[in-house]
Amino acid sequence: MTTITFPLSPAAQQKATQEPRWVRWALISIALLFLTLFLFIPLISVFYEAFKKGVEVYVAAITDPDALSAIKLTLTVAAIAVPLNMIFGVAAAWAIAKFEFRGKNLLITLIDLPFSVSPVVSGLIYVLVFGLQGWLGPWLSEHDFKVIFAVPGIVLATVFVTVPFIARELIPLMQAQGTEEEEAAVVLGASGWQTFFKITLPNIKWGLLYGAILCNARAMGEFGAVSVVSGHIRGSTNTMPLHVEILYNEYNFAAAFAVASLLALLALVTLALKTLIEFRNRQHQQRGHE
């Protein structure tokens, strides 16, 4: 038997709780391959298909009057749905995080409910309430007010699917912050609104923004629920995702991907902002601890 001694190779120096280098690289490669196939290539293909026929086609597609009206409608819907859900989220989180009352867990589950409902069903239930055959349908048509196949229906369906976003962001945040600061403010003589605007709101503003960004992405991108209630009237009740569908079904692929690329861009901006806020929060937390 011969004994050879030589300097320890990097592999031999590895920590006891680390896998061998080849295992690490194999796992990283498989994970990245999976993500490439299922995430990166689809994302890149959106932009590739959008510009395949040239910039002119792209510009024409997104400056088409119908496209512009779809963009406008999408922005309008988000501009209504997001602030509504912000107010709801703050109110719900205030009640749930700052007070002890019976039925709290049930309430939290109810708030999460829209996440588990199929988008198609989310749209359908509004048809059942406001549609011609629905509960309020006859009354609405008597007063010449359209909800289904009109903008109010689109707004309602969008609000429904985005109800949980901000509340579920704020509830754990406000629970973690506790009630001591608010109590201190009240002991020092602050009124309810003073306490809210001077203490609570500044403390939750980043969480609120984070929730609003996610809520906005979903509100602008919602397809199934909106598709059921919209009626697909070009230039009037077409949101951007619905416009993408119409163009695609007309085999106008370049135009469909052009509008889709705007939505993909929205997704990327959303992710960037989300990552930025997460980064900021981590830094803030580290600063807070000592």
Binding site: E181, A184, L188, G189, S191, Q194, N203, R287, G288
Partner: protein
């Protein structure tokens, strides 16, 4: 301003936090609420502040009923356990907050606010931190800012919830004597909650010992330490030795020794527990009196000027060793080593019948 607490009771679900608690806080005194966690001390403090409402009972401020007064109207200063500094405001704004939120008619001018805040920051010796944010401060500094903030509204009563609980031992000691001095200068009626007996005994004018929602004893630090009113107070304050004992018509027996217990004249063959502090035990090499127990030295530990002995009684069912504290001189006189036989006499002990643990009778034998 004096505070009267009358028959307060408070339940949280099935947990009784306060059980018919009555208490008087004299004007200008510094009072400690001392007890283990869950004893109701923090709840009592929060009820006095108006942060909690009791299920029944009254709180009087200066003789006037404040039970239904909102915390905003009670003019109390409250220092929270984790300071509760407003993280989004500078130190200056934190201290100024109570003045800034006043209705316009009562709000001081900006200059006045600035003067008063800086004066307070000077008082707590942290005026150089005015523009910092809470997260940039150490725990001890935050604690002092929390105090300055509470004082800014000129409260009539200062309430502190575990004021030094979250600090490390050294800062704790410093702040303790600092708070004592501050109180001596300002003479504001103050109540603070603590679970640290040393803190309560060192700082407070009077100590309220609480256990399971009840007050066990109220007294000066000397009184509660030297004359504990109940077994709980005995065990909670300082080290103590327990001896199984028997009471019969004014006499108490601990093992072979028999002692007078005139307070228990009515007792008939009653089991009891006797409490003796480690420094109240006399140690001799020879049995020169009748009332002495023999024991073996099993452990000797020197801590500074004090020598701690652990003794085990011969033929004893008790496995817990007896703790004895001697000063160095006495220890040298005795020249003890491990395994020596010694004879011990309690210089002072209290006997409590074991069934009725809360009866406040005590027997003292010298």
């Amino acid at each position: 301003m004096s505070i009267d607490v009358l028959n307060l009771s408070k339940q949280f679900g099935t947990f009784t936090a306060l059980h018919d608690v009555s208490l008087q806080v004299h004007s200008g005194e510094l009072l400690a609420l001392l007890g283990p966690s869950g004893s109701g001390k923090t709840t009592l403090l929060r009820v006095i502040a108006g942060l909690e409402t009791a299920d029944s009972g009254q709180v009087l401020f200066h003789g006037e009923d404040a039970t239904d007064q909102h915390v905003r109207e009670r003019q109390v200063g409250f220092v929270f356990q984790h300071y509760a500094l407003f993280r989004n405001m500078t130190i200056f704004e934190n201290v100024a907050f109570g003045l800034r939120v006043r209705p316009k008619a009562f709000r001081p001018s900006n200059d006045e606010i600035r003067d008063r805040v800086m004066k307070l920051l000077h008082l707590v010796q942290l005026d150089w931190l005015a523009d910092r944010y809470p997260h940039q401060l150490s725990g001890g500094q935050r604690q002092r800012i929390a105090l300055a903030r509470a004082l800014a509204v000129e409260p009539k009563v200062l309430l502190l919830d575990e004021p030094f609980g979250a600090l490390d031992a050294k800062v704790r000691k410093e702040l303790r004597s600092w708070l004592r001095r501050l109180h001596d200068d300002m003479h504001i009626t103050s109540v603070f909650v603590t679970h640290d007996q040393e803190e309560a005994l060192e700082v407070a004018d009077r100590v309220v010992v609480m256990n399971e929602g009840r007050i066990e004893q109220i007294g000066t630090p000397d009184e509660v330490y030297e004359q504990p009113a109940s077994p709980f107070v005995y065990e909670f304050l300082g080290n103590v030795n327990l001896f199984h004992s028997r009471l019969h018509r004014g006499r108490a027996w601990i093992g072979d020794i028999e002692l007078d217990a005139p307070e228990h004249a009515e007792a008939e063959e009653q089991a009891a527990v006797a409490y003796v502090r480690p420094h109240e035990i006399e140690v001799e090499r020879t049995a020169n009196g009748a009332a002495a127990m023999s024991a073996l030295v099993v452990h000797i530990l020197t801590v500074g000027p004090i020598v701690r002995l652990e003794l085990v009684r011969k033929n004893d069912v008790d496995i817990t060793p007896i703790q004895v504290e001697l000063n160095k001189e006495r220890f040298r006189e005795l020249q003890l080593v491990k395994g020596d036989e010694v004879f011990i006499t309690p210089r002072r002990l209290d006997v409590f019948p074991s069934r009725k643990a809360h009866v406040d009778v005590q027997s003292q034998i010298l």
